[in-house]
Amino acid sequence: MKTATATKKSTPFMDDLRHTIFLWRKSKLTMIGSVIIAIFLLVAAFAPLIAPYSPTDQDLSVRLRGPSWQHLFGTDQFGRDIFSRVIYGSRIALWIIFLVSVISGSIGMFIGVVSGYFGKIVDDILMRITDMFLAFPSLILAMAFAAMLGPDLTNTIIAISIVSWTTYARLARAEAMKVKSQPYIEAVRATGGGNLRIMFLHVMPMCISPVFVQLTLRMGTILLTAAGLGFLGLGVQPPTPEWGAMVSAGRSFLIDQWWISTFPGIFIALVVLGFNLLGDGVRDMLDPRLRR
């Protein structure tokens, strides 16, 4: 005889979490994405241990050799080991993605919150400015900034950050507008909270979640933009082993030494794929309408 068993004490938060993990494991593709990113992070962290050679050491006696056991991905025109260069390139990629995300996310969130909170004129002006930045395909604008500042790693990061903040601004603004008309904000104001306090302590935290999700979704794009700049010669300059620049460097040798361009490109594709799969999965999981 089964009497009503006491069900495990669970709060709504625990239920949510369990459901999230259930959804995460259910989707094979999201799992694959997570694995790829995990590997990416590990490779970047342990690059010196994994790479057999230094990424910048030249050895002209082994130049333009194809993939072999000594050189897994072959060598380039200066005799540098491509495998090592690709491994170290992951550090560059990670650095760019991380910094751009932090910078553009912060700028975007700040502008969005200010815009959404104050509304009216401030909102109009800030939104027009956002529109202006959105009026360009972002790569072209980034190219212009990169060319203007001078092509190198720091400037690439700045350039991409400048063209990336708009999405977050829009998101943060939408959240801010929703939050600002909530009754509890009235309550805070009634107890004497000033605008700044309300904006930073109450409104901004609510924006962090959607902005964060969007950041994850855009990490792949950031890497692609950086690689594009590198490819065009407007980004990170050699001998720094940035993947896009490496693809470009191999172009003149494409006919016979295909490996110089191919392998860095594969890695770009893999990492972006990982971010996209993970990002898609995260978005699907958090979308309240898709949670069943």
Binding site: A4, T5, T7, R18, R292
Partner: protein, 322 residues
């Protein structure tokens, strides 16, 4: 098991439906039963989650992933609906049996004109062209109290909740079905509009003579509009009686509790709530699903599921007390 057919128009027995979610199998319906005769108005009442909507959707065979109809018999107009092919059931739907829903504005396609949506239903049911159906649509719109000149070419977002529900009623009754299923048609509306809509339904049903299966949690509407009542609890049909009889002599302990909890003008005693709460349908109690909250619980209630049987004339109840 061959049960005696109780309803000539609609007879549902042994309906078992489950939903497979992350928490496990939600056993939403556990052998539900419903029956109706032509022209009858049946009110189906019960708390949220008791399975009223699921029953209705099962009759229409609109249950989809992650839900599944596992067992049961649905006889409508001498056809066994659960055994029909997809093609055959779609001929029954919208023609002999129609359904209207709770949220009228989201149940109408936002990019189509109202007139078209209604004409589409009518033209499909009567097998006439959309143009010919337009004539009938205009008639229906007037019948439901809408100005067809304004509404024919309007879009759902341009109508108020009440107007949209009227349009839905026009869409549901336009095909002249034998049975109209209304799933809480007034729950999303203001109280005054609710009264108008019920009165409209009353009027039209009288005129057209169709049967109505009205799902609601509002006993007041039941009292006003329905002939018979079916009470459901946690996936089972627990009581059935003509309206007056139910109000005068509720037999199932839950029904008793339900009626005691309804505020009524003239009552001076305190409102009583039924103690406890609805059982978890993933892990429901054995035996009668109400036994944990029942003031009359006996030992047999904890182990055996009571059968819905006739204990007074045309008054059925599923309880071990009888």
């Amino acid at each position: 098991m061959e049960t005696k057919k109780r309803g000539k128009l609609l007879d549902v027995s042994g309906l078992r439906v489950s939903f497979f979610t992350y928490r496990g199998e939600v056993k939403a319906l556990n052998g539900a039963e419903v029956w109706m005769n032509s022209g009858e108005r049946l009110g189906v009442v019960g708390e949220t989650g008791c399975g009223k909507s699921v029953t209705a959707l099962s009759i229409m065979r609109l249950i989809e992933d992650p839900g599944e109809i596992q067992e049961g018999r649905v006889i409508f107009n001498a056809q066994s609906l659960l055994e029909l092919s997809e093609e055959e059931i779609s001929r029954v739907r919208g023609t002999q049996m129609t359904m209207i829903f709770q949220e009228p504005r989201s149940s109408l396609n936002p990019v189509m004109k109202i007139g078209f949506q209604i004409s589409e239903a009518i033209s499909k049911a009567k097998n006439i062209s959309t143009k010919a159906a337009n004539v009938e649509t205009k008639e229906m719109l007037s019948l439901v109290g809408l100005d067809y000149k304004r509404v024919m070419d309007a879009y759902p977002h341009e109508l108020s909740g009440g107007m949209a529900q009227r349009a839905m009623i026009a869409m549901g009754l336009g095909p002249h079905p034998k049975l109209l299923i209304a799933d809480e048609p007034t729950s999303a509306l203001d109280v005054t509009i609710q009264a108008q809509i019920i009165s409209l339904l009353d009027d039209l049903t009288d005129r057209m003579g169709n049967a109505v299966l009205l799902i609601t949690h509002d006993m007041g509407i039941v009292a006003e509009f329905c002939d018979k009542v079916l009470v459901m609890y946690a996936g089972n049909s627990v009581e059935y009686a003509p309206v007056k009889e139910l109000f005068n002599d509720p037999l199932f302990p839950y029904t008793k509790g339900l009626l005691k909890a309804v505020p009524r003008v003239g009552r001076i005693d305190e409102l009583e709530a039924i103690k406890g709460s609805v059982p978890d349908l993933v892990d429901p109690p054995e035996g009668c699903r109400f036994h944990e909250r029942c003031p009359y619980m006996m030992e047999v209630c904890q182990t055996e599921m009571p059968v819905l049987k006739e204990v007074k004339e045309n008054h059925y109840v599923a309880c071990h007390l009888y």
